[in-house]
């Protein structure tokens, strides 16, 4: 079983990100449990969402304290807040990079991928919402599911142009890790 913790601020789409991640894994033939942890219900407050992926039915219902994978949707959360708490050795972190926030120095036994998700999203979607780009990068960095599964999950969740553009944003995130572009 792999455990994922998503760090974001309320309103940034962490729940949708968790849902898309779980759906992509489900399409790829896995079991997935995705759930939010609601804190103080106000826009901008730090919040988490969690996902578990497994080949078997998932029974564990607690929050994720020792993630195998981390997704940081808002890098400003790394100011004075240890997003790496409990991170497992050998883990993979995908950070939606922003040049104004310093990314952490490489940590032993942890792979950190920084992806300019919001910049890519601004190019593709016209809005700085990097979630689907980051999920594309996650697929490439972890191989937990293929890009096609993720794009199918996106097409199921959204419709019309928004769906197409987000599928493209996911591809861009995927390519960013695979080819460094």
């Amino acid at each position: 079983m792999k455990e994922i913790r998503i760090h974001a601020r309320a309103g940034q789409g962490a729940i949708t990100t968790a849902l898309l991640l779980g759906t992509a894994a489900f399409i790829g033939g896995k079991y997935a449990l995705a759930f939010p942890h609601f804190g103080a219900e106000r826009m901008g407050a730090p919040m988490n969402a969690f996902v578990r992926l497994s080949d078997q039915v998932i029974r564990l219902r607690s929050q994720v304290y020792e993630p195998d994978y981390l997704i940081v949707l808002d890098p400003s959360l790394m100011r004075g807040f240890d997003v790496f708490e409990g991170f497992r050795p050998g883990g993979v972190a995908i950070i939606n990079h922003h040049e104004k926030v310093q990314c952490p120095k490489p940590i032993q036994n942890i792979k950190v991928f920084t992806v300019p998700g919001n910049d890519i999203a601004t190019e593709v979607l016209g809005r700085p919402i990097g979630n689907t780009t980051i999920l594309g990068a996650f697929a490439a960095a972890t191989n937990e599911f293929g890009l096609e599964s993720l794009q199918q999950a996106i097409l199921e969740r959204f419709s019309g142009e928004v769906a197409k553009k987000n599928a493209e944003a996911a591809r861009r995130g995927y390519e960013y890790i695979k080819k460094g572009v």
Binding site: G22, T23, I27, Y31, A32, R59, L60, R61, S62, Q63
Partner: protein, 384 residues
């Protein structure tokens, strides 16, 4: 068909498949997603039902009570303060023998205000005369709703059913759920045929005054029906398996109990986490097992006794407390041993209140404490 969806959406789909005809509810988190989805289905023409907006849970319960009395299938959902606000109507619905189905998206009760999960709300409504089932996961929540309608409308039962699913932990969790086909549901759940109903052409009175000469008999009848339900449920569960091709447990579930000397007893979503811990303890050679209680009312006393009689140490874990006494499930579990010799050591643990996360460590803490002296109430993860 296997789908990946939110627990609330899954339950709404099941209520649609059960063809509820009158739905009334008042929004309250974490229940809201269910009735929002149903309201949308009615608006989109996917569900031929009347969705009645009301100004409170008291009215929502009153609407489904009245609707059910006219002989249509009804549904409502609520939680926490909303359930408590419904409570006098809940008693009335049971007294009128109306087969209303209600989802309780379990949540803590004020004060202090807390929107997160525990079982204090539904446990407080325990004695209202409703059958009460607790789901471990969203598949079970769906299956229990199907069972709920079938049982409630069975002419040998004719009592309301409350399906309890943990707020957020289940209602807001996305997981894989196998949703049945309409044809399967139609086969399992025939149209509702009321025993009596309000009809202007053949007027009757319901809910009339009954004095000391007859009130006792109405309570006797409900209690007897509850006891009968324990015998009716397994047969209907067999029907369920025939139609849907998978088993449904409706009373209890045993997990690695065969040779267990130490047994956890619990209800709801924490059961999944306990199963994980048991597998770990078993690998270390510890003889631990679990009894999952699904039916809190009627309480399957004999089956619980049979399942637990060989245990030496029993830990009852619950997300509710009868303040000034102990956890209500602990009292129930203790009661099954009354009159039997060689009672095991039965301890009570209260945890997961107001959304406090139940971790594997919480369960291991219970396991450690179990070896010590008997306790009626031990709070786990307490910060003092």
């Amino acid at each position: 068909m296997r789908q990946y969806l939110e627990g609330s959406q899954a339950v709404a789909q099941i209520v649609r498949l059960c063809k509820a005809q009158v739905i009334s509810a008042y929004p309250i988190t974490p229940q809201t997603h269910i009735v929002e989805a149903l309201a949308q289905m009615v608006a989109d023409g996917e569900l031929n039902a009347e969705f009645i907006n009301v100004e409170s849970e008291h009215s929502a319960a009153s609407v489904v009570q009245g609707a059910s009395a006219t002989g249509v299938r009804t549904y409502t959902a609520t939680t926490s303060q909303g359930l408590l606000y419904m409570i006098e109507v809940l008693y009335s619905i049971a007294g009128l023998r109306l087969p209303v189905v209600l989802t309780c998206a379990n949540r803590a009760v004020s004060s202090p205000i807390n929107i997160w999960n525990d079982h204090q709300d539904s446990v407080t409504a325990r004695d209202a005369g409703w059958l009460q089932f607790y789901a471990e996961n969203n598949q079970e929540a769906c299956d229990l709703h199907l069972m709920a309608y079938r049982l409630a409308e069975d002419h040998n039962i004719m009592l309301p059913v409350m399906v309890c699913m943990d707020g957020y932990i289940l209602t807001h969790a996305y997981e894989v759920v196998d949703l049945p086909e309409q044809s399967q549901v139609d086969k399992f759940l025939p149209d509702f045929k009321p025993v009596h109903c309000l009809n202007p052409d053949e007027p009757i009175s319901m809910g009339v005054l009954m004095g000391p000469e007859s009130y006792t008999e109405t309570r006797y009848a409900i209690h007897q029906t509850m006891m009968d339900a324990l015998n009716v449920i397994p047969g209907i569960a067999d029907d369920f398996e025939r139609v849907f091709g998978r088993k449904v447990n409706c009373l209890i579930e045993k997990y690695r109990l065969e040779d267990a000397t130490q047994v956890f007893v619990a209800m709801g979503s924490m059961v999944g986490t306990i199963k994980e811990v048991i597998d770990g303890l078993r690998e270390d050679g510890q003889k631990v097992g679990l009894l999952k209680v699904i039916a809190h009312r009627p309480f399957p006393k004999k089956i619980v006794y049979e399942a637990l009689k060989n245990a030496r140490e029993i830990a009852v874990l619950e997300k509710a407390i009868s303040l000034g006494q102990e956890g209500p499930l602990l009292s129930d579990v203790k009661s099954v041993f009354c009159g039997h010799g060689n009672q095991p050591k039965i301890s009570g643990f209260v945890l997961g209140l107001g959304g406090r996360d139940i971790t594997k460590k919480s369960i291991l803490d219970v396991h450690s404490a179990l070896a010590g002296s008997q306790v009626d109430v031990k709070f786990i993860d307490l910060k003092i």
